[in-house]
């Protein structure tokens, strides 16, 4: 009996309910999306028709012109590229803020630390949609920022902030910052900063302390943070929709449009599978880079 009281020592079947739940909740929708991506549009209205077709994937790369000719269409690939670019910038920006912030948090007194963690999680208490609307109020032409800029005489007239790539980025960085801070903080909190003193005692210069002692111990947190920010930021649709004004589409918007307005479910499903592939490849690469080098690869 006692042997079963250790974690992981119970009978195999005990994990069956959790496993079944995961298969249904994670696997089910994925299988459905994969299936839809190989079917064709319903002739009328919403949904799909059950005939196998590669039209969904074909449309990602190839355009059928009205005169019957076909040509390569880079439009959607550009949107995927733009999404990756915005997500990458978001990731780097959150990293630059999160690393010093996490280290600062982790080196405070224990009581103050838990308060700081609470502060980082406060945004989660409100819906992302509401918080993104709040940014619209802040960034619009007669919003807080522009009122001050004009009020203090820094600019004669409001600067265009809302409905630009910049405001999309501000929204993305704002939304995803906690997802970068929390895993890096948890690594930094586990890190014993006396190890840095030990390194100094053994003759390490500041740069060597960072590269040889601090970085290897923060790396797992940074890798987790990159995954938690890069993946959802690539597929984000709320921020480009509301703050970017739908002008610079991200792949998330495109997918959402296919399922809603355009009613092209196979194309939307194919785009989703493409997104999954692209993100998967990026993650594998970033993980390989993170594991191979001992020196900081993602931070300067």
């Amino acid at each position: 009996m006692t042997s079963q009281s250790f974690p992981g020592r119970g009978p195999r079947w005990a994990s069956a309910p959790a496993l079944a739940f995961l298969v249904v909740i994670v696997g089910g929708p994925l299988i459905l999306i994969f299936l839809y991506s190989w079917l064709s549009r319903a002739r009328f209205g919403v949904g799909i028709s059950w005939t196998i077709s590669t039209d969904g994937y074909r449309k990602v790369f190839i355009e059928d012109a009205l005169d019957g000719t076909t040509r390569l269409n880079a439009q959607y690939l550009r949107i995927i590229g733009n999404s990756l670019l915005l997500a990458a910038i978001t990731t780097v920006a959150t990293l630059v803020v999160a690393i010093p912030m996490s280290i600062w948090m982790a080196t405070r007194a224990a009581r103050f630390r838990s308060l700081l963690v609470l502060a980082v999680t406060i945004p989660f208490w409100t819906n992302t949609l509401v918080r993104t609307y709040a940014w619209m109020l802040i960034l619009r032409d007669n919003g807080i920022v522009n009122n001050r800029l004009v009020g203090w005489g820094i600019f004669d007239q409001p600067v265009k902030l809302l409905y630009t790539n910049t405001s999309t980025l501000i929204g993305l960085v704002y939304t995803f910052l906690p997802f970068m801070v929390l895993p890096i903080y948890s690594s930094a909190e586990r890190f014993d900063f006396r190890l840095a003193e030990a390194a100094v005692d053994l003759g390490a210069r500041k740069r060597q302390v960072v590269a040889r002692v601090i970085w290897p111990n923060l790396r797992s947190g940074v890798i987790a943070g990159v995954a938690l920010v890069l993946v959802p930021a690539t597929g984000a649709f709320l921020q480009p929709e509301l703050l970017g004004g739908g002008k610079s589409l991200m792949i998330g918007n495109l997918i959402q449009q296919q399922f809603a307005a355009s009613r092209n479910w196979p194309f939307g499903a194919a785009l989703s599978i493409m997104l999954l592939l692209v993100v998967g490849i990026v993650l594998v690469i970033s993980r390989l880079v993170g594991h191979r080098s001992t020196a900081p690869s993602l931070v300067a």
């Binding site: 006396r194 190890l195 003193e197 030990a198 005692d201 053994l202 003759g203 390490a204 210069r205 040889r212």
Partner: protein, 348 residues
């Protein structure tokens, strides 16, 4: 090579709420090359701060530190031929034993593969052969301690600083490590500066001991000097067991527990700053001709010795140790006469 000279070093720490503590108050010390020097004192007395000043992890507010005739305290830590064994060991959790030991050598610009010979020599020195691929959390406390020692010694420092390195080990292991450290120190010829709050450890390890209290040195001497000739009530009380009695002078005589004794029978009684009388429990002897009469209030068997609490005629409590195999062992409640040997008057 390896003699340390600490000259009037002071260090103050500002508390977050305004106050300040003087961790080191004008401390001067001469530590000879190849000496095992122990800094002994209660926690928070400044001994670790002095160690950190020598290592370069703290900068003294004033004063100078010299090593082998060269100014040390103005050099950055990486240029000091001084290494530390930390109380927490501070092993790098992401590196295996061999890489931990090679770390300091790599910091000197050596390639990792050129360190292998030095690493295996160090592993042999601390009896950890075959452990080179383990990571720190796979090691016992004693093994981690040895790795920390090997890592610090690998750089062949002139001075090795040890900050309570044995504090986390159990008593038996601590005893055997004390002997190993002493042997290691003799073999390597490196100057050891050893910080501890454990008086037994200080007596066992030190060629000389400096007793610290509140940022100042109270006494420096060999273990025997410190034990037999404590300069103050603090030192007498801190090292070993001591009976402390009030010092009351009556002209040429000294009153001991209500009995007058000639001042000449008390060591140091003529010192003007003496404030108390000290006598070690083993120097309280049963003596039918003794001037002090006492009642035995309790007895305890401590293995090699018997420990007695005596109540003197005027109510003063006195501790007495007898060899456990001594023929005459008084019973609790019995009355007897005692005399005090090596009665010493000391300063505060």
């Amino acid at each position: 090579m390896g003699n340390l000279s600490i000259r009037s070093v002071s260090k103050q720490f500002r508390a977050p709420h305004g106050g300040a503590t003087l961790a080191l108050d004008d401390v001067s010390l001469e530590i000879a090359a190849n000496e095992c020097f122990v800094l002994l004192g209660p926690s928070g007395c400044g001994k670790t701060t002095l160690l950190r000043c020598i290592a370069g992890l703290e900068n003294p507010d004033s004063g100078e530190i010299w090593l082998s005739g060269e100014r040390l305290d103005t050099e950055p830590p990486f240029r000091r031929k001084v290494n530390t064994v930390f109380q927490s060991y501070a092993l790098f959790p992401h590196l295996n034993v061999a890489d931990n030991i090679a770390f300091g050598l790599e910091m000197d610009g050596r390639k990792r593969r050129d360190c292998d010979a030095a690493v295996s020599e160090m592993l042999r020195l601390v009896n950890l052969e075959g452990m080179d691929k383990r990571v720190p959390n796979q090691l016992s406390g004693g093994q981690q301690q040895r790795v920390a020692l090997a890592r610090a010694l690998a750089k062949q420092p002139d001075v090795l600083l040890l900050d309570e390195p044995l504090a986390a080990l159990d008593l038996k292991l601590r005893r055997s490590m004390q002997f190993e450290l002493k042997a290691l120190q003799a073999r390597t010829g490196i100057t050891f500066v050893f910080v501890t709050h454990d008086q037994d450890e200080a007596l066992a390890l030190g060629d000389r001991i400096a007793v610290f209290s509140e940022g100042t040195i109270r006494q420096v001497g060999t273990p025997r000097q410190i034990y037999d000739e404590p300069a103050s009530r603090f030192v007498a009380d801190f090292i070993g067991e001591t009976n402390v009695l009030p010092l009351i002078r009556h002209g040429d005589a000294v009153e001991v527990a209500g009995q007058l004794q000639p001042a000449s029978s008390v060591i140091g009684a003529t010192d003007s700053d003496a404030v108390a009388l000290c006598v070690r429990p083993e120097n309280v002897r049963i003596d039918p001709a003794g001037a002090l009469s006492a009642t035995v209030s309790s007895a305890a068997f401590l293995g090699s010795i018997m420990h007695y609490s005596l109540t003197l005629g005027d109510g003063t409590m006195l501790r007495m140790n007898l060899a456990a195999d001594a023929t005459e062992q008084p019973t609790v409640g019995s009355s007897l006469h005692v005399s005090l040997r090596h009665l010493r008057a000391v300063g505060p």
